[in-house]
Amino acid sequence: MTAPVRAADWSCPAPLREHARIVLGHGGGGILSAELVEHLFLPAFAPPGPDPASPGTDAAVLADAAVLAVPGGRIVFTTDSYVVRPLFFPGGSIGELAVHGTVNDLACRAAMPLALSAGFILEEGLELDLLGRVAQAMGRAAATVGVPIATGDTKVVERGLADGLYINTSGVGVVPAGVDVRPDRAAPGDRVLLSGPIGEHGIAVLSVRENLEFGGDVHSDTAPLHGLVAAMLTATRTGVHTLRDPTRGGLATSLCEIAAAARVGVEFTESAVPVPPVVAAACGFLGLDPLHIANEGRLVAFVAEADADAVLAAMRAHPHGRDAVAIGTVTAEHPGVVVARTAFGGTRVVDRPLGESLPRIC
């Protein structure tokens, strides 16, 4: 009589042993794919097990689809893809960006994150060690936020068809009752608040990619903003009209998009916008506008005049908003157009950059 089959012995005793790099088989859905999930992604994402606070959620098993228990209210759903080059840069990596970016898209609709998905497009030949470091960065970022990476997918493309590693993350979050934050709520009289200095992410990435030095250290500002938003909403539940994280295209693009969506004009004082000296130096050197440079840990808020001081104080009391400033106001004049008041008293129209002033930075 033969011994019973022991399924546990089927698992590879030396996981990922044959390959220090991604091979096409890692995307084939077979044993190699399973090994990658079991030995690389699962430990990195460290699923905490069933969340006692969310009975019914099975996010811990990292299956093809996750079941989420949703508290009453409205759901926010978003997706974003991350193609940054280089993958690691001062202050972070594509891993932190992939978590923070999607959490921030939820936060800018005032949603507290409930769960994320992670999709990976990997290039044949990518070092497993590098992928492991990216996954661990994602895991750490998600743990800091307190959001599970609940489901995922991996595909591998042939060498030369991708730039190492692309990540897509989607996220769902829940909006607190009574909160209504959307681009077209910005209204004449609103104050425009900015959570901190601009341009650090874009210049940090540029500095390592082009091997340029600008006379000072510059680190990406990548950070999750859901906590800052929660702090702002404690100051007023209804007064926060519009939130936006100024990523690609920078602050100028965010202001222009909101002005267009809400059919209002925006006026801001250029000298009120904090630009770190190293960002100013890099932009001066390369002929770039700091208003067009990407950020990954900042938000701009349009807040009812009566609530603006309280919201600004709440922002400054939060670690991710301690340098928050009021930069301008919303006006009924020149709807759709953003106007900057220059330091010398003149004015100019501020527009979005036409295309990319820099290649792929977020």
Binding site: A281, G284, F344, G345, V349
Partner: protein, 368 residues
């Protein structure tokens, strides 16, 4: 020197504005030669603040704007060849040629690279010995030394796969062309400071003397520009025609002798057509005969391209200061940065782009 803060100081600017207002007895017409100066003026609103004292006519000093159409078309033809890697400054990629632009060539498979320095193109040639690397050398005397340095470096390293498509242009002949125009209104020039950093100031003495026009060598930060205007107004009000160096922190009378020596070694002066303006005698640089093996026009067969400008583009009149961008019937309608008819709407230094980006409200009759 903390030029980003010190030369942007609003209090010092207010003092200079007061001085200019107290000095000017009438409105004077000044031409800032360089496109970088145009953008700084518009971006900081200096033209608004000086509206009662100065009419700025925006000069032809945008290298991207004046690069002749046939030269763009040659670059496009070369870039489309399978063995070629064409390297250029970023601004050139969107400049429309007769039928397409470098971005489109790249989207169709052409190998077009943006470089920050001509020496980056030399490095690419070293790293890719199987590719023909071509540097598209455009610009005024400011950028030419770096191109000359690239030629010298490529020869020193024995590279046989590096060539240059040279379309350098010279500022003083263009200023003479403006002054010789029958409808010239320019009463004083703000000369392009960085050109003078390389070439020095002596070449402007004969222009001042022959045309009885003050020339003020001027920098690019807001306070530099206001100081340049102050000097120009002072000269005009006093009835003097003098060459003034208002940018002494970057400009010496003799310029940069080593750069000039290298320019003289590598380039030779030639006639050059300026886009929108026409042929200006002795207004350009080409590779001198001793460097002809680096000449992309000889390496590749690009003879006799026929070219045609858009009839609706008035960039020539803009470049000569005869038309303000918003006065062009195409401005903001059929010609925008997204679909430029001419190079002045493309370049970061182009006057039309400056007005479109920063002055659209007044230009198209909106609010203020």
């Amino acid at each position: 020197m903390r030029y980003l803060t010190e030369f942007h100081d609003p209090r010092l600017a207010a003092t200079l504005l007061d001085t200019i207002a107290a000095t000017a007895t009438r409105r004077w017409t000044l031409m800032e030669v360089c496109g970088g100066q145009t953008h700084a003026i518009i971006r900081n609103g200096l033209d608004q603040l000086l509206a009662d004292q100065v009419e700025f006519i925006h000069g032809p000093g945008c290298p991207v704007c004046v690069t002749p159409l046939e030269m763009i078309d040659r670059a496009l033809t070369i870039a489309a060849r399978p063995e070629v890697m064409l390297c250029s400054f970023g601004d050139m990629l969107r400049v429309p040629g007769s039928t397409t632009d470098l971005f489109t060539v790249r989207a169709h498979g052409g190998d077009v690279r943006v470089v920050y320095s001509p020496l980056d193109a030399v490095r690419l040639a070293e790293a890719h010995p199987d590719r023909q690397v071509v540097f598209f050398a455009v610009g005024f005397e400011t950028t030419a030394p770096a191109a000359a340095m690239a030629a010298v470096t490529a020869r020193r390293r024995g590279l046989t796969n590096f060539t240059m498509l040279v379309s350098h242009v010279l500022v003083p002949p263009a200023m003479r062309a403006v002054l010789a125009s029958p409808d010239n209104r320019v009463e004083a020039f703000l000369a392009a400071g960085h050109v003078c950093t390389v070439m020095g100031t002596a070449q402007y003495e004969p222009i001042v003397a022959e045309h009885r026009v003050p020339i003020v060598v001027t920098g690019f930060e807001p306070l530099d520009l206001l100081d340049g205007v102050r000097h120009a107004i002072t000269e005009l009000e006093a009835g003097r025609t003098t060459l003034v160096n208002a940018y002494p922190r970057a400009v010496r009378p003799e310029g940069n002798p080593s750069a000039r020596a290298m320019l003289e070694e590598v380039f030779t002066v030639c006639d050059r057509p300026w886009r929108g303006i026409g042929m200006i005698p002795a207004s350009g640089w080409r590779l001198s005969p001793a460097w002809s093996q680096l000449d992309a026009e000889l390496r590749f067969d690009i003879a006799d391209l026929t070219v045609a400008e858009s009839a609706d583009c008035h960039s020539g009149e803009v470049l000569q200061g005869r038309l303000r961008p918003p006065q062009c019937p195409s401005f903001g309608t059929t010609c925008t940065p997204r679909r430029p008819l001419g190079a002045t709407m493309v370049s970061a230094e182009g006057a039309c782009a400056a007005y479109f980006q920063h002055r659209r409200l007044s230009a198209v009759g909106g609010g203020r």
